[in-house]
Every structure is written in structure tokens, then in C-alpha cells.
């Protein structure tokens, strides 16, 4: 009965979506803000990748909050999952292929991740993407050798300090009367590695933060899964 009603409502929703779609004036949409940013970003922020300019510059506050969400999710997850039970029986160790692959991939992933982070202001990619790769790099050995504990201390330290440094960089501008999250340092040559002021630093913080959060979350889930 309930499903039937739901299906009826879905039908109605479908019709409504179609109506919204039909009424939308697709041509009318002009990215007024986007175009303005495209025009001004190179000079205002100095990053060749305008998306990065937006992510860390124009909408840096969003990014900070987003990091906070990840952090919150990890904290809340930790709260929910609690401490894994001590008497948990670890999963059997993985096979040779996985172990060898993990060993092989670990440095590779590390390097790729860092590269992506550091070039975030120049090319597609950035702290988030790189951070995920870093997380995988650290999580892979965990899959291969379930017994080895990941250093929670280290993870939480990185997590905390990386997040804090993002804020601190943002705050640094304030004593000079500037607003929070104002890009600092010299903008440099557009397109070079050391350009766009403090953006790369922020991206490093983001990368580390994302990497550690994800790794931590995955590890926690895995540990809980194993403990039952």
C-alpha cells in the first residue's frame, strides 16, 4: 500500500519535474559571476586554474567549511563507531598479489598524490583529488595487512594541524586589517609553480586534511567491520 502511494507520488513528481524542465529557459542562463571571475581571476588571485581560484580564493570559505564537514564526519563517525573491541579477531592476511601490489603502489600513489596537490593551482586537480589519492596510498597497506594498526595518533595529528593551518593562513591576513582568507604572499608569474600566493599552501593543507580524514574514516570502518 505504502509503496503504491509512493509510486503514485513519484508519478506526480515525474510530471512536475517535466513541467519545471519545460518551463526552464535554458538559453537565458548567463554565468554573470563566472564570466566576471574568468575575467578577473588571473589578476586578482594569480592561479592559472580558475577553478582553483574559485575554490581557494573566491570561495575559500566554502572550502574551509567543507573540510570541516569531513572533519566532523570523521569525528562523528568515531563517536558512533566507538573503540573497536580489543578481542577482535583480525581478518586473515591478504594474498601475495595484493601485498606486493600494495608495496609497489604505495610510493607511486604518494608521489602522484603530492604532485596533484602541488599543481592544483595550475592544472586540473588539487587538494581534494590529491588528498584522496594519498588516503588510498595509506589505506592500501591496511587492506593488504589487516593486522598492522594504522597510527591513529599520527592521523589525528595531521588532521588537526592541517585543518588548523588552513585557518591560521586565513587569519594571518587579519592583523593587517585585511579580511579573513585574503590570499597572501606574492602572486608571482601566472602559470608557474610558485605562483598564486598562499594558494598552494592552502592546497597542501587541504590535501593533507582530506587524505588523513579519509584514511582515518576508512580505517575506522574497517576496524569496526573486523571487530564483529
Amino acid at each position: 500500500m505504502q509503496r503504491f502511494t509512493s509510486a503514485l507520488f513519484l508519478l506526480g513528481l515525474g510530471v512536475l519535474i517535466a513541467a519545471i524542465f519545460r518551463n526552464m529557459d535554458l538559453a537565458a542562463s548567463t554565468p554573470i559571476v563566472g564570466d566576471a571571475i574568468n575575467a578577473a581571476a588571473a589578476q586578482q588571485v594569480g592561479a592559472a586554474n580558475f577553478v582553483t581560484s574559485v575554490v581557494l580564493g573566491y570561495r575559500g570559505f566554502d572550502t574551509l567549511m567543507e573540510l570541516t564537514i569531513l572533519f566532523t564526519a570523521a569525528t562523528a563517525g568515531g563517536l558512533v563507531l566507538g573503540k573497536p573491541r580489543g578481542d577482535a579477531r583480525p581478518d586473515p592476511e591478504a594474498g601475495l598479489v595484493l601485498r606486493a601490489g600494495a608495496d609497489l603502489f604505495f610510493p607511486l600513489l604518494l608521489v602522484v598524490g603530492l604532485y596533484i596537490i602541488l599543481h592544483g593551482h595550475l592544472t586540473p586537480g588539487g587538494g581534494f583529488q590529491g588528498g584522496v589519492i594519498l588516503a588510498v596510498a595509506f589505506f592500501l597497506p591496511l587492506l593488504a595487512r589487516p593486522g598492522t594498526p594504522m597510527s591513529h595518533r599520527a592521523v589525528s595529528l595531521i588532521e588537526g594541524l592541517a585543518g588548523a593551518s588552513f585557518i591560521v593562513i586565513g587569519l594571518l591576513a587579519m592583523p593587517e586589517g585585511q579580511a579573513f582568507l585574503t590570499p597572501l604572499l606574492d602572486k608571482g608569474q601566472l602559470g608557474s609553480l610558485l605562483s598564486a600566493g598562499s594558494l598552494p599552501l592552502l592546497y597542501i593543507a587541504v590535501g593533507l586534511k582530506v587524505g588523513s580524514e579519509l584514511a582515518g574514516l576508512l580505517a575506522q570502518l574497517a576496524a569496526t567491520e573486523a571487530s564483529d
Binding site: 518551463n23 526552464m24 564570466d35 570559505f61 572533519f71 564526519a73 589525528s156 579580511a179
Partner: protein, 483 residues
């Protein structure tokens, strides 16, 4: 004014560093959170007087809006930022072995709540809303019981569903206007959002953000979560977080969607909320769920009030919201020990007379007995509802009245059972000093408001006037004109 950013940044910074600090000194970790909140509250208070004459914007990253994100600081926003900070401080939800994580979440709540109140960018609001949602999931589940986690999960599903729809609504707005800055949107709204698409976007955002504002009927999570979460958390959610979500909706209404259709949707849902909430509360058999349903009813009143067009609606709604902001947390502080079945509360006044007296004071104000502040708020709502000369608004007024009568019945059924001569077999434990002190503080504030009602009303009216003034918002932010 830049330092107001610290109201957001400092709690977040502390939260990030809390695990590190705990490593160094657990005593410091225990105290730094409240201290930081106190500090931010002082920062906020010191800025208070400057916002009286007019609102201010803070252009984050020194980017002129609409390119960058701005914080819009008017008295309303600052008040709510202060409310969330002080509320968190008062209802500091950290206890037990997960103290550290709970403190972290509490700091995050204060920071993100302040941010939400101040933010002047549509997408940023979405992000902050999600942030506060995640914080509340964590806090709601923090008791660690399976029931709490199941309730949180059910909450999460509705909330995430709603948030995704709100995101779709934001996409529709962006499609129509190409900007996300609220001030610029306000400029463009009369031409570009005054159509079906705009209203569809509003509905999606209303429902999405309404989940946290306990909007009927996406509030089914409320009784479950309030019954299973720690009482202080429930107090925070009901008292503070719900108002923040409401604040967003009100901002959207004022700036983006002044169409009568939008108001009517809110009015109807508000009426249904009052009706269902108060009726369900009438039959509730445990303290927490009674408070939960009553909170649904009260939020319904706020929705009704805010659906009155113009400054009057903002004024009336704000009065109810602020009143509830004081009363509900205090009640939940009492629920900390009285959380169980109502039958167990018989004769409890003998053991804890102060708590019983507080409950009565709060209940009196909640149902709107003069001269307590709740009465003035209700009176305002009633006057403005009936001034609309529309039968739907009048219906709202009648429903509010009937709801209040029901509420009087069930609240005083409980209150009078406190004074029954024969006590229950298993009376609840006495309140802890902290809970009682917090509740007393709020109660004292309520009582003090009786004597300060005249200046308070003037302040709130000024605040409402400022908040309801679209042009003031646009001029203050002064978005860069774009082709």
C-alpha cells in the same frame, strides 16, 4: 568588523586542534572549548552596538561580492550567532568517555552555527547547513545506544534527502540568475525568480532546510531523536539549530521570494505543524517526546508568524522564536533527569522544588500567560495574523489558540502531577547542579524579560525592521554591478 569572522574561525580552529591539545593536557582540552566560546561571545557582543545603526558586510578574502563570499552582519544575524554560541556554552554537551569528541562537535556547532547565521551566499548557506547537519548527527548519536543511532540514521536519511533537494533548488536558482550572492539575487529576483521555476526552487529549499526547522511533515525525526539523544543535545537542536534553519528560510523569503504563493505554502505547513504537534504532544507519555512534539508545535507557530508578509511577520516570528529559544533549552535541561515516563514524575516537587517551579514558570511562558514574554509574542502573532483580513491567516490564529489551550492542558497535567501527594515508586534522581543552574539562568532571563519587555520589544522591532528591509540588504552588500 573583520574580527567577527573569529566567531566562526576560532571555534573551528579550536575544534581542529582539540585532539592535539588533549594529547598535551586533558585538563586544557576540557576547558578550552568553553573558554573559546566565551571569547567569541564577547567578540560578538562587542560588535553588537555597531550594528544598531545599520548592517555591515564582511567581504571574505577581500573579494567584492558577488564574486566572493560575504558575511552579512545585521542585528538579527549577530543575535543568532550569539545565541548559538551562548546556547552551546550553556548546554555544553560533553560528558562521559566520549567527552573529547563531543566537545569537538560542540565547538563545530557553535562555529558553523555562527557562520550560518552570518552567511550571505546561497551556496555557502547550503554548505554550512550540511555542516551543522553532520554535527547534529554526531551529537544526536552520541549517547551510543543502538536506538539513538537508529534514530539518527532515520534523521540523516530525511535530512540528506532534503538537503539534496535544496541543492537542486539552488541549482535552479543559479540557472536562472547566474549568481549565488544573496544581495545580487535580491536584485535579480523580481525579474528572474518571479516565475514557476523560482517558486519550485523555493519549495525545494523550503522543504530541504525545513527538515531541520521541524517543518511539517518532514519533522518525523524530531520525537525519535529528542527521545534518544542526550537531553542537552535535544535542547540545542530544538532551541538553537531549528531557529537557524528557520532564519535561512526567512532570509530567502524576504530577499528572494516575496511572492504570496511562497508565504501561503509556509502558512499551510505551519498550521498543520501546530495542529499535529500539539495534538501528538497531548498524548505523549514521556517527558522528552512531549517536549519534542511541543517544539514542533512552537515551530509551527513561527512558520505561521513568518508567513505574514512584511516587517510585521518578521517581528512577530522573531518574538516567538526568541522566546522559544530561551524556554526550550531550559526545559530540556530539566529533561536531563526527568527524561523518562511522565508517571515517574509524580510527587517530584518534594525532592526538587526549584526544578518543579522552573518547569511551571517555563510552561506558563510557553503557553503565553501574561505578563510573561511568551504572551507578548503570542499577542503580536495574533494581532498581525488577524490584521491580514484573510481567512487562511485567521484560521492560523484560531489554530494557534486551540494549540495553546491543548498545550496548557498537557503541560499542566505534568506540572500538577509534580505536586501530587504520593510520590512515584521510582522517582528520578535529583538534577545536577549544572543542569539546574543552566535552567535557572534561562528562567531568570525569562523573568527579567517581564520587566524589560518595553525596551526588548523596541529592540526586536528595530531588528525586524532591519532584517525585513530588502533594499537595506542590497545597499549594504552593494554587489558589484555585472553586465
Amino acid at each position: 568588523m573583520n574580527e567577527l569572522v573569529l566567531m566562526v574561525a576560532l571555534p573551528l580552529l579550536t575544534a581542529f586542534l582539540l585532539p592535539v591539545i588533549d594529547r598535551l593536557s586533558s585538563l586544557a582540552a576540557r576547558w578550552i572549548g568553553p573558554l573559546v566560546l566565551l571569547l567569541t561571545a564577547i567578540i560578538g557582543l562587542s560588535a553588537w552596538s555597531q550594528t544598531g545603526s545599520g548592517a555591515i558586510t564582511i567581504e571574505l578574502g577581500n573579494f567584492r561580492p558577488p564574486l566572493g563570499i560575504d558575511l552579512y552582519v545585521d542585528q538579527l544575524a549577530l543575535l543568532f550567532a550569539l545565541a548559538v554560541t551562548l546556547g552551546t556554552l550553556l548546554l555544553w554537551p560533553a560528558e562521559g568517555e566520549q567527552r573529547l569528541r563531543q566537545s569537538t562537535l560542540a565547538l563545530l556547532l557553535a562555529g558553523s552555527g555562527s557562520g550560518l547565521a552570518l552567511s550571505g551566499d546561497l551556496f555557502n548557506i547550503y554548505v554550512l547547513y550540511e555542516l551543522i547537519a553532520v554535527v547534529s548527527y554526531g551529537l544526536a548519536a552520541s549517547r551510543g545506544t543502538a536506538a539513538g543511532q537508529a534514530a539518527t540514521l532515520r534523521y540523516l536519511i530525511v535530512s540528506a534527502f532534503g538537503a539534496a533537494l535544496a541543492l537542486a533548488g539552488i541549482a535552479l536558482v543559479y540557472q536562472a540568475t547566474g549568481t549565488l550572492n544573496l544581495a545580487q539575487l535580491a536584485q535579480l529576483a523580481p525579474t528572474q525568480l518571479n516565475n514557476g521555476q523560482g517558486l519550485a526552487a523555493f519549495v525545494l529549499m523550503l522543504v530541504g532546510f525545513g527538515v531541520k526547522a521541524e517543518l511539517f511533515p518532514v519533522n518525523t525525526w524530531v520525537p525519535e531523536v529528542y527521545a534518544t539523544a542526550p537531553a542537552r543535545v535535544a535542547g540545542l537542536l530544538a532551541g538553537v539549530v531549528s531557529k537557524l534553519a528557520l532564519l535561512i528560510i526567512v532570509r530567502l523569503l524576504i530577499l528572494l521570494f516575496p511572492q504570496p504563493e511562497a508565504l501561503t505554502v509556509m502558512l499551510v505547513l505551519g498550521i498543520l505543524g501546530v495542529l499535529t504537534g500539539e495534538l501528538a504532544a497531548w498524548r505523549a507519555r514521556d517527558f522528552n517526546r512531549m517536549l519534542a512534539f511541543s517544539s514542533i508545535g512552537q515551530l509551527g507557530i513561527m512558520f505561521i508568524a513568518f508567513s505574514i508578509p512584511g516587517k510585521a511577520g518578521v517581528f512577530a516570528g522573531l518574538a516567538v522564536a526568541l522566546h522559544h529559544l530561551v524556554v526550550k533549552p531550559a526545559l530540556f535541561l530539566l529533561a536531563q533527569r526527568w527524561g523518562g515516563s511522565l508517571e515517574h514524575l509524580a510527587g517530584v516537587a518534594k525532592g526538587s522544588p526549584l526544578a518543579a517551579a522552573l518547569f511551571i514558570l517555563l510552561a506558563l511562558s510557553l503557553i503565553g500567560v501574561p505578563p510573561l514574554p511568551g504572551f507578548w509574542a503570542k499577542l503580536l502573532v495574533m494581532i498581525h495574523l488577524l490584521e491580514q483580513q484573510s481567512s487562511l491567516y485567521a484560521l492560523g490564529a484560531w489554530i494557534i489558540m486551540a494549540g495553546a489551550a491543548l498545550e496548557a492542558n498537557y503541560l499542566f497535567r505534568v506540572a500538577s502531577s509534580f505536586y501530587r501527594r504520593e510520590a512515584a515508586a521510582t522517582p528520578p534522581a535529583a538534577h545536577r547542579t549544572g543542569d539546574l543552574a543552566g535552567a535557572s539562568l534561562l528562567g531568570a532571563a525569562l523573568a527579567a524579560a517581564v520587566f524589560l519587555i518595553v525596551p526588548l520589544a523596541d529592540r526586536i522591532e528595530a531588528m525586524a525592521g532591519q532584517a525585513a528591509d530588502r533594499d537595506h540588504y542590497i545597499q549594504t552588500v552593494n554587489p558589484e554591478p555585472l553586465p
